[in-house]
């Protein structure tokens, strides 16, 4: 971009003070102001966030801006399709800028499957409002009433003139410097009328991917750049007591920095940076940390305050105590999940540079605005002096929320006066990242002799609150989520709590169905209160050729079995069917998976299919073999050779059934498709063998225990 620079960042200026035209040239700008989240919503208590703006330029390009980021989940193309749809222009004429803190609206971060319901809806409204203004301009320009103007393919045409009386958008906004706010009356195009959105599309960035031309943060190398390396604490929670940098600083070209618990170096090349870190003498105070063996007792005895998705929740309906007292059949079981790692293919990477007192940071992050604000805080700068942008990122899965590495790189860049890039090694990625929490979920249930559920008590320890509620009709319920302390770092993960809670609930419901002598599909349908979820379950039962059975097919150690599970989370409805074979040597073979998913109106079917397939594969890892091992605050398996993730030979045939609901708002599809995989497998194993496994991973050493 070669245009003059006005005051930045845009989000800190009122819409009328932003230098849109100085930056992007003449045109029409339409702004949807930031939104204040409603009570109970994500980011409540925080500043207004989201919103969008679109600049339609004289070259006919629509530049759209959202604070959400693309880290491989495919929303860039999906959101661009929405803009192209509303503006009636080719996808290739839309340029979407995501998560650039100088230009985009403030956003709390890309998590919780909010990109489609929030950014999607905001861009949709902004695009629709821009279209209305274009129509009005075109009507004047063409000298016909607005109703006689057709907008399509980037042009305004008098209806019936066969393009004889037609103007491209670029000419309509020629010489214009107009800023409009999206009016409350704006009506976007209903999904049943979509011509671009809702149809298969090719990612416009595909070519740079297959040619290796795409530059991720870890590929950036500006002139004069130094390589940064951090001396990390030896154990979780270790505090730096004393440090001596002199031997490191004696190496040629090396800058070393110590600030609080941060110790790092920057060097002209990576081998020198590695040597320099090894020369640092540091003394750490390492608090004693509980080890894996006693972890469940530790969590039970260390409740913690809740925040955000770690909410403490207490949900009670009816009277469970009375219901349990009078129930003819009751069940009480405990389910657990392991700490697991995100393992993004691209490890954390950050590039920091200073120019005239202003800091610019390129980083693979899911929370660029929070990173900007954290950088400003840590470095005592006004937020306007920090610019964070997000180059293409080699996936995140909830693992790229932290800003500490960026702060370290910024300190090294400041001290050395050069750009500094830090890229984690794979081992650092394992040891310095945070993990999906280990969860312990206790379920007590009661039913009548005919199987009707009467009481449901669901006590969640450390999973998080997502999907803790039950989609089944039960008159008496008590549902609690209790966050806890953790002996290793834990935080966000793709579908973290929902995966754990859904595993517990869907396993338990399967146990109830078996106890009631009922078919697992029929039993679920009998109790499901949500018609949309029931429709997904029926679709998957149909596709999989489900044969009704009252209890497990086989009660023997080997054989084939079929299981099914459902889930309702973040507005998405999912059902997964699994067929497995348990071999003589306790090896588990997955023969087939069918996943059905419904998330309202489908915007980008090609990508949604990819998300459901890929999410199913990712879920297989956590369900079958992924587990972080630890002792005394140390990670014991911080290598890919020691931490198994799904490979080609682990992937069974996966069929995806997408249910499109153009009559309903679009919800996210990146997380919820994962949550029924683990219980479907556990239920299939039960069907095959009569054995019930209540702990993830199901095959910790490659075979069933």
């Amino acid at each position: 971009m070669t245009t003059a620079r006005g005051p930045l960042p845009f989000d800190l200026l009122t819409p009328e003070d932003r230098p849109y035209f100085e930056r992007f040239g003449n045109g029409l700008v339409v702004v949807l102001p930031a939104q204040r989240p409603g009570p109970g919503g994500w980011g409540r208590g925080g500043p207004p966030h989201g919103g969008a703006w679109i600049h339609l330029g004289e070259d006919g390009t629509a530049r759209a801006f959202t604070g959400k980021v693309e880290v491989g989940q495919g929303t860039r193309t999906a959101l661009s399709l929405i803009v192209a749809e509303e503006l009636r222009m080719p996808l290739a004429s839309v340029e979407l800028t995501m998560g650039d803190t100088d230009l985009c609206p403030w956003d709390m971060g890309t998590f919780g499957s909010r990109s489609m319901p929030d950014a999607g809806e905001h861009l949709r409204l902004t695009g629709a409002a821009a279209r209305a203004v274009l129509r009005e301009i075109a009507s004047r320009e063409l000298g016909v009433p607005p109703a006689e103007v057709e907008l399509s393919d980037g042009r305004a045409t008098v209806i019936g003139s066969d393009r004889a009386r037609s103007v491209p958008y670029g000419r309509l906004v020629h010489g214009m410097r107009r800023v409009e706010t999206v009016p409350a009356s704006t009506t976007p195009t209903p999904p049943p009328e979509w011509a671009k959105a809702g149809h298969p599309a090719v990612d416009p960035g595909a070519r740079e991917v297959v040619t290796g031309a795409r530059r991720y943060t870890s590929d950036l190398h500006p002139p004069g750049m130094l390589y940064g390396k951090v001396l990390f604490p030896p154990t979780y929670g270790a505090k730096l007591v004393r440090v001596d940098l002199s031997r490191a600083e004696a190496l040629p070209g090396v800058t070393a920095v110590h600030d609080g618990n941060f110790v790092g170096v920057a060097a002209p090349d990576l081998p020198t940076a590695r040597s320099a870190v090894k020369l640092i003498r540091a003394e750490w105070e390492t608090p004693s940390q509980p080890s894996e063996a006693g972890i469940i007792e530790f969590l039970r005895s260390h409740p913690a305050e809740g925040e955000d998705f770690w909410d403490v929740i207490h949900h009670a309906v009816g009277d469970v105590t009375a219901a349990f007292a009078s129930a003819p059949i009751s069940l009480h079981e405990t389910y657990t999940t392991a700490y697991i790692a995100h393992v993004p293919m691209e490890t954390h990477a950050v590039l920091a540079s200073w120019e005239g007192g202003r800091l610019t940071v390129a980083m693979g992050t899911q929370t660029p605005f929070r990173a900007r604000d954290a950088l400003a805080d840590a470095l005592s700068l006004p937020p306007s002096s920090v610019h964070v942008f997000v180059p293409p990122t080699g996936s995140g899965f909830g693992g790229k929320h932290a800003a500490e590495l960026a702060v370290g790189a910024a300190r090294l860049a400041k001290a050395s006066g050069r750009p500094v890039r830090i890229t984690y090694t794979r081992q650092e990625e394992f040891t310095q990242a945070y993990f999906r929490p280990l969860a312990v979920i206790e379920v007590r249930s009661a039913m009548q002799k005919d199987g009707t559920l009467t009481a449901w008590q669901f006590h969640v320890l450390n999973a998080g609150s997502a999907a803790a509620r039950t989609p089944y009709e039960v008159p008496n319920q008590k549902i609690d989520n209790q966050p806890t302390d953790s002996p290793i770092a834990q935080a966000s993960y793709r579908a973290l709590a929902a995966t754990a809670n859904n595993f517990a609930r869907e396993s338990h419901v399967d146990e109830l169905a078996a106890r009631a002598g009922a078919d697992p599909v029929e039993y679920r349908l009998r109790h499901l209160a949500d018609d949309r979820l029931a429709a997904v379950l029926r679709a998957v039962a149909g596709r999989s050729g489900w044969v009704a059975r009252p209890g497990p097919t086989a009660v023997r150690a080997v054989g084939t079995g079929r299981g099914i599970a459902v889930g309702l989370e973040k507005g998405g409805r999912v059902a997964t069917f699994a067929e497995v074979e348990v071999h003589e040597d306790r090896r588990l073979e997955i023969r087939r998976i069918v996943t059905g998913f419904e998330c309202g109106a489908i915007v980008h079917p090609t990508n949604l299919q990819s998300q459901v397939e890929g999410g199913t594969v990712m879920a297989l890892g956590g369900a079958l073999f992924e587990a972080i091992h630890f002792e005394g605050g140390r990670i014991l398996n911080p290598k890919l050779s020691q931490y198994r993730v799904p490979r080609f030979h682990d992937v069974p045939p996966i069929e995806v059934v997408l249910l499109d609901r153009p009559d309903l708002p679009s919800q996210g599809g990146g997380e919820s498709p994962l949550i029924a995989v683990a219980p479907a497998l556990a239920n299939a194993i039960y069907d095959a063998t009569g054995e019930r496994f209540r702990s993830l991973p199901l095959t910790p050493n490659g075979t069933l225990p």
């Binding site: 880290v71 491989g72 989940q73 495919g74 090719v202 990612d203 960035g205 595909a206 070519r207 991917v209 297959v210 040619t211 290796g212 031309a213 795409r214 530059r215 991720y216 870890s218 590929d219 190398h221 090349d269 990576l270 393992v343 993004p344 293919m345 691209e346 490890t347 293409p392 990122t393 080699g394 996936s395 899965f397 890229t423 090694t425 794979r426 090609t606 990819s610 998300q611 397939e613 890929g614 999410g615 199913t616 594969v617 990712m618 290598k639 890919l640 050779s641 993730v645 799904p646 490979r647 080609f648 030979h649 992937v651 996966i654």
Partner: protein
Amino acid sequence: MAALRVNGVEHSVALAPDRSLLYVLREELGLTGTKYGCGEGECGACKVLVDGVALRACMTSLGEATGRSVTTIEGLAEGAQLHPVQQAFLEAGAFQCGYCTPGMIIATVSLLHRTDRPSDDEIRSALDGNLCRCGGYLRILEAVRIAARRSAGGTGGDP
């Protein structure tokens, strides 16, 4: 001074022969299409062709590559014309974040050098050393099938 031929161009590299080929390609020659993923040969993100065979650049030393012909992802296309395997990955939409894609494509080119009609089992075995954390394996499998049909002299259409 090691003489290294990369994508048809001769380079003189003034580095110790035990330095990894991955380091040389990325940090010395600026060929960043070859990715770092694990540094222990477990993920395949760094695969390059050495004399036509896919090798993990993180496990290959500069000394081992010296005097041989190295092809990276940047060297596959002929000008604007994508290599048939690149074209197949593009058409199949066989990537999400795209980080593993160069390694997957290189492994596929190597496989199709060895055999032009691989079975699904052969494809899975050939690519088992390549990780895709986005879980895009089924699309990748489809891309390899498309590429295999074409390299076997088919029309590129469905069978």
